[in-house]
């Protein structure tokens, strides 16, 4: 478990979240991490899911948000802290130690991390 929330940048300046072995845009290695924790993002879209899998809160309001990092955009998907959200809202990441119950779903609990960041609207 770690509380990092990093986008990854290649030598050509492309950003991705999460990181990949090679940059999805140009195929070069990613060499730099960019901390997204203290930044604000814009809501691109969202949904409230009422039919959630085992171990997931119900209902589950989640969406895609976009960060602007020095003129380069990078997106992330995540849960929201509220169901009161609209396209264009500004949000900031808030740490949560367990986003869903790792033991309830089909995926091997040790194969991935289960903590992360929800998005909370900012005024």
């Amino acid at each position: 478990m770690s509380d990092s929330f990093d986008a990854h940048r290649c030598e050509n300046g492309h950003l991705s979240y999460p990181g990949h072995t090679r940059c999805p845009d140009c195929g070069e290695p990613q060499t730099e991490a960019v901390d997204l924790r203290d930044r604000t993002a814009t809501v691109i879209t969202w949904t409230t899911s009422t039919a959630t899998p085992p171990g997931v809160r119900q209902p589950n309001t989640l969406g895609i948000v976009e960060f602007d990092v020095d003129g380069e955009s990078v997106r992330a998907l995540g849960q929201f802290t509220t169901d009161d959200v609209e396209i264009g809202d500004r949000v900031t990441p808030v740490y949560t130690s367990e986003l869903r119950d790792p033991s309830a779903g089909i995926r091997e609990p040790d194969s991935q991390e289960w903590d992360g960041y929800r998005f909370e609207p900012v005024e």
Partner: protein
């Protein structure tokens, strides 16, 4: 991307000479029995003994996860008496069927096989909706999976963005469901043979806001099969065959939120570009299409990304009846995944089954006037796509 020409002298033209599908729905049979049922019927359809098969492929996403049965292609070869045919399982999640069509096409086009059968199938309904949803959601990246994302929630997010960007009314999505349920009335293999009206769709419970229960395909058991050979020998099997004139496969990002435009399916654009090029045809030449309407919103995205309609105009075509069975471009005459059902590995095979029936004039009450048909099978949330263009045999 490599471009193929349909006239390449080093490549066999591939014909489909037999097709079958089981009844889709809640079935008592398990995956082995479903595959054997469709495979046996397909062999009968073309009057071919199992021992004549060179290759036998099975399209299946998750028989291990759903029922603890792995190794299904070998099981099928044994149950059908097809030994010593070469077998392989083709898994590309929801597009396993389309990927199986691609593998079967390759096997004939390359000359590696003179007779290949593809059987797609899945057994799902013994699981709860939550469990089945999780099996499918397990295809997602860990950073998305940990937030409890599901394929239906991707659909909800995409639909919201689409309605926002293109000023489409929410009712336009409901009209896809109404149309496909109406088409499914005439499909004896469909899970739902029940018409629904606009109010029923709009009043159904929210599943992934703004999408409601009737915007989603059901969970389904079923199987479908196709028989492939070189076009040069097709008439030895039947007078009523179809030719694969173009086929293309492509991928988009695994992490769905990394796409620049959430309302475009890059894999549909790329796979259809390849298929159109190979066939020497364009979107305007297509007379009938089966699209992957796992969610109503996907019919809009695919009809645009295949080039049938301008970006953002797919909803208007549905509103205007263009895609109705008696419209200019009938889409999902089978009832689509929406009404026919979506047994994951079978769906891409069943799409081609419907186009085979349409092009050979054997679609019964669903028959439309057509010379060129297209099937677009989508895996993940557009992660993997196969587009197949077919024409009636000469």
């Amino acid at each position: 991307m490599k471009r193929l020409s349909g006239d390449d002298p080093g490549m066999e033209r591939v014909a489909i000479v037999g097709a079958s599908m089981t009844r889709f729905g809640e079935r008592d049979a398990w995956v082995r029995d479903l595959l054997a049922e469709a495979g046996d019927e397909c062999l009968r359809d073309a009057d071919v003994p199992p021992t004549k098969l060179d290759h036998l492929y099975v399209s299946n996403m998750a028989s291990g996860e759903f029922e603890g049965q792995t190794g299904v292609p070998n099981a099928l070869a044994h149950d059908l008496g097809a030994m010593p045919a070469y077998t392989a399982r083709i898994d590309q999640t929801s597009s396993s069927g389309g990927a199986g069509v691609y593998a079967a096409w390759q096997s004939i086009a390359s000359g590696a096989s003179d007779l290949t059968m593809l059987v797609g199938g899945e057994k799902m309904t013994h699981r709860t909706t939550a469990e089945a949803t999780d099996v499918i959601a397990s295809l997602t990246h860990p950073v998305e999976y940990k937030h409890g994302v599901t394929l239906p929630s991707f659909a909800g997010m995409t639909a919201r963005r689409y309605l926002h960007e293109y000023d489409a009314p929410r009712e336009s999505l409901a009209k896809v469901a109404v149309k496909n349920h109406k088409n499914g009335l005439d499909n004896p293999h469909a899970q739902f043979r029940k018409a629904v009206d606009l109010e029923t769709v709009m009043d159904s419970p929210i599943v992934a806001d703004p999408l409601r229960l009737y915007d989603f395909c059901p969970i389904t058991d079923g199987s479908a099969a196709l028989l492939f050979c070189p076009e040069a020998v097709a008439e030895e099997y039947t007078d009523d065959y179809v030719v694969i004139s173009g086929i293309g496969g492509a991928t988009d990002t695994h992490v769905v939120h990394e796409r620049d435009d959430p309302t475009t399916m890059g894999g549909v654009v790329d796979s259809s570009d390849i298929a159109y090029d190979m066939a020497g045809l364009g979107p305007d030449d297509v007379d009938v299409a089966e699209l992957h309407d796992m969610f109503t919103i996907l019919e809009f995205l695919q009809s645009e990304d295949l080039g049938f309609f301008e970006k953002g105009a797919g909803w208007k075509a549905v509103e205007e009846g263009v895609t109705d069975r008696d419209g200019d471009l009938p889409i999902n005459t089978s009832g689509g995944l929406k009404s026919k059902g979506h047994p994951l590995g079978a769906s891409g095979v069943a799409q081609v089954y419907e186009i085979f029936r349409q092009l050979t004039g054997t679609a019964g009450d669903r028959q439309v006037d057509c010379d060129v048909g297209l099937a677009c099978n989508v895996g993940g949330f557009g992660n993997c796509v196969t587009t197949t263009i077919m024409e009636a045999g000469q």
